[in-house]
């Protein structure tokens, strides 16, 4: 009798255990959405002047920050915690592999639960988040747009602005980009490694093709101007006057057409190495003496050049920065405040700290090598000899400073990622010689129509 009871109890317990383990993935949906009251934070409208009465030490509470890169976000949060010692910060990092971070934030936004008070967005999807209703808060409640544009590099504010002109996200970085070249190769094939002279070689489409031809001829076909087509593509996309989508219609700027022409020419004469960006071969080509120039943004110095160089060559000034045909931007991370956050005051303190605090920006630039977006800090650092990068033997602030206000942030759209990918795929087939130019444009447009046909018109 006893054993029978035990057997029954054991089997019921076991099946109960198995059911609950299956349910483990459900997660706790115990708080109904109603407990997240909408902005009763009317006092949030306190202007900055009101908050200045509070010192950093006076701020208490908990701030939840969502990010997709630990190396980038952890140190930022550390700095913030140093200045605001009484604030507890919960940094939640989810890498964006296959869009995992974006999906996490999107589903959280949809359910209205577990949305971080501050969440980051990379340049590839910042426009999407900025234009999503109920995602980011209107930042003009804390500081006017004009003031923001005067204190921070304007194009970074433009990118964080939604289609109705409301600023919703700010970046602590200004990721301007230029041409990075290897000085040894420059001296060997062009008799000079002076940035201004090298810049002339890239000053126009014709010059670029001429330079490519010269390089291939003088090296007997060994040397290449660029490792892949993506380098030149980034430069050209940045030089456009119109973005991919204007008034809801797919727009192909003249610069894009010019790029298609040159890219084909460069590939045909063997001046472009057909390597795909971020592949191991592309990274390895940073060290070789075959591929001459890369598209190097401000973060490219540590993350494209330094990281791929051998120990012997690190920091020896064997690279240089030259001006691209037009100043362009690549990458960057924006931060915004969740529109229904309970901690908007604290969240604004964080964003204010990383972007508008001049001392923090200067310290951050020196510590992390990031190119910050605070204009006063940029001015200061461009005169600071300590900022001369050992990798390129130039001061990036001195170099990028003058051109940075000229970057057009209005050409970035929320569809850029998909459209540029479709364009790149079509171009790869075209450059490999498998399809002709008409087929390339047809494939590109078909892909964009299939991907985004419901949101934009494609002719």
């Amino acid at each position: 009798m006893n054993s029978k009871f035990l057997k029954r109890a054991a089997s019921l317990a076991l099946s109960g255990l198995m059911i609950t383990s299956l349910m483990a993935g459900c997660g706790n949906k115990t708080d109904p959405g109603a407990t997240n009251p909408p902005a009763t934070n009317a006092p949030e409208a306190t202007t900055d002047a009101g908050n200045q009465a509070k010192k950093p030490e006076d701020f208490t509470g908990k701030l939840v920050i969502g990010h997709f890169n630990n190396d980038e976000s952890s140190p930022l949060v550390e700095e913030f915690k140093k200045k605001y010692p009484n604030v507890e910060v919960d940094l939640q990092v989810t890498a964006d592999t296959n869009g995992a971070y974006q999906t996490l934030i999107t589903t959280a936004l949809r359910s209205g639960q577990d949305v971080p008070d501050v969440f980051a967005a990379e340049s590839a999807f910042v426009k999407r988040f900025v234009n999503l209703p109920d995602a980011y808060e209107d930042l003009s409640k804390f500081m006017s747009t004009d003031e923001l544009k005067s204190k921070l590099v304007p194009y970074t504010v433009e990118i964080g602005t939604d289609n109705n002109g409301v600023v919703r996200a700010l970046s602590h970085q200004a990721t301007a980009a230029a041409v990075g070249y290897k000085r040894e190769m420059a001296k060997k094939y062009f008799e000079t490694d002076d940035p201004k002279e090298i810049g002339k070689l890239f000053s126009s489409a014709d010059e670029i093709v001429k330079t490519g031809k010269k390089l291939v001829e003088s090296s007997g076909g060994k040397a290449k101007l660029f490792p892949g087509m993506a380098e030149l593509m980034r430069m050209y996309l940045g030089a456009r006057e119109q973005g991919w989508v204007v008034d809801g219609k797919l727009t192909i700027d003249d610069k894009v057409k010019e790029f298609v022409k040159i890219a084909k020419e460069l590939r045909d004469i063997g001046a472009e190495g057909a390597l795909e960006a971020w592949t191991p071969q592309w990274s390895a080509a940073v060290e070789d003496d075959i591929h001459f120039a890369y598209a190097i943004p401000t973060w490219g110095i540590p993350w494209i050049i330094d990281v791929n160089q051998s120990e012997a060559n690190k920091g020896t000034g064997n690279w240089g920065l030259a001006e691209a045909p037009a100043p362009y931007t690549w990458g960057g991370t924006w931060f915004g405040i969740y529109s229904k956050s309970q901690n908007k005051e604290l969240a604004w303190e964080f964003i204010k700290f990383i972007t508008l605090d001049e001392d923090q920006s200067v310290a951050w630039a020196k510590k992390s090598g990031d190119f910050i977006s605070n204009r006063a800090a940029i001015e200061k650092l461009s005169k600071d000899p300590e900022m001369i990068s050992k990798t390129v033997n130039q001061n990036p602030y001195e170099f990028f400073g003058p051109m940075i206000t000229g970057i057009n942030g209005k050409i970035i759209t929320e569809f850029d990622d998909q459209i540029t990918n479709a364009f790149q795929n079509a171009m790869l087939s075209y450059l490999a010689g498998n399809i002709n130019e008409d087929q390339m444009w047809a494939q590109f447009k078909d892909q964009v129509r299939s991907d985004l046909g419901e949101q934009i018109t494609v002719e």
Binding site: L22, A135, L428, Q443, S450, D451
Partner: protein
């Protein structure tokens, strides 16, 4: 509660036994309803809406997504291409896979030949099935790299080619890579299934064949093959269902692009791209329902084929 208890007491012993049976299979059905049945109905509902997956709720648009789907198929759009691709990838995989698996199964179950270490081979051939598809695909994309992947380096070193070959921009090279990976991964499993099938053939049939003077090939053709028919059709049907929902390998190999020229995009890749890369969740749901109907029809035809043969 009291009434229920008195009802319970009045059930016969057999009823109670059956009740326990239902109780124990209930967890499975609960879980299946939540994670499989409900999402299928939700997807069906979503296919009639426009939804970007974010804070704006779905908007009912009726048959718009299906109209777009039909238009795509009729005008030779990307979905039609993905149907063709999926079938080509599957056929190029299933034929070598089955031929190879059958040959090996016959060899390894044959009592008359003296291959040493049959068990060892059985285990070895099954091993590829245990590796995750995504990692193999990633490995292949390294091997086939251009201009200097392992295969290209080898071809140039052996002087078989002067210049590197752009494998991953060549339609058939990419397709055959996907099919090769699939064949390599699954032939061991198929072989084991066939081996089990052959082992279950009654010994008398083989002896009868031997007495009649049949040689190895005739034994295979007239005894083994007919007896394996049901197992083979089971394998084909499960292979079709798996093949039509092919996703990991082409996704990883082409980095989600279905390059070159969308000739390696499978149906599920298309759904993923529409739904999770472009956030066209309404249309993606419609495509998913389209895929469901496609598989349903194919399996119906396959089953009819089986039943007709068995009759």
């Amino acid at each position: 509660m009291g009434r229920l208890y008195s009802l319970f007491k009045r059930l016969t012993r057999n009823d109670k036994y059956a009740l326990y049976g239902y109780l124990f299979i209930l967890p499975f059905f609960i879980v299946m309803s939540i994670f499989i049945i409900y999402p299928i109905f939700k997807t069906f509902y979503l296919s009639f809406t426009d939804w970007q997956g974010a804070t704006i709720p779905p908007v009912w648009v009726g048959l718009k997504n299906y109209k777009r789907l039909f238009q795509d198929v009729l005008e030779g759009g990307i979905f039609l291409q993905s149907i063709k691709n999926t079938w080509i990838l599957w056929i190029c995989n299933v034929i070598p896979q089955f031929v190879g698996a059958l040959a090996l199964a016959v060899l390894l179950t044959d009592r008359s030949n003296k291959i040493k270490g049959k068990e060892f081979f059985r285990a070895i051939y099954y091993l590829p099935n245990l590796v995750t598809m995504a990692s193999i695909a990633a490995l292949f994309s390294f091997l086939l790299g251009y201009p200097n992947g392992a295969v290209n380096d080898l071809l140039i070193a052996l002087k078989l080619r002067k210049e590197p070959f752009y494998f991953l921009q060549n339609v058939w090279a990419t397709r055959l890579s996907v099919s090769t990976i699939l064949t390599w991964m699954w032939f061991g499993y198929t072989m084991i299934i066939f081996m089990a099938g052959i082992k279950s053939i009654p010994e008398e049939l083989f002896e009868a064949a031997k007495v009649d003077g049949a040689n190895k090939w005739q034994t295979f053709k007239f005894v083994t093959l007919p007896q394996l028919k049901s197992i083979m059709t089971y394998q084909v049907v499960t292979s079709i269902i798996g093949g039509l929902s092919m996703y990991d390998i082409p996704q990883v190999l082409t980095n989600g692009t279905g390059a070159p020229q969308n000739k390696v995009t499978t149906m599920v890749m298309h759904i993923y791209r529409q739904g999770f890369t472009n956030y066209n969740l309404g249309y993606a749901s419609a495509v998913a329902i389209g895929l469901f109907v496609h598989i349903f029809i194919v399996v119906l035809i396959a089953l009819k084929f089986i039943n007709r043969k068995e009759a």
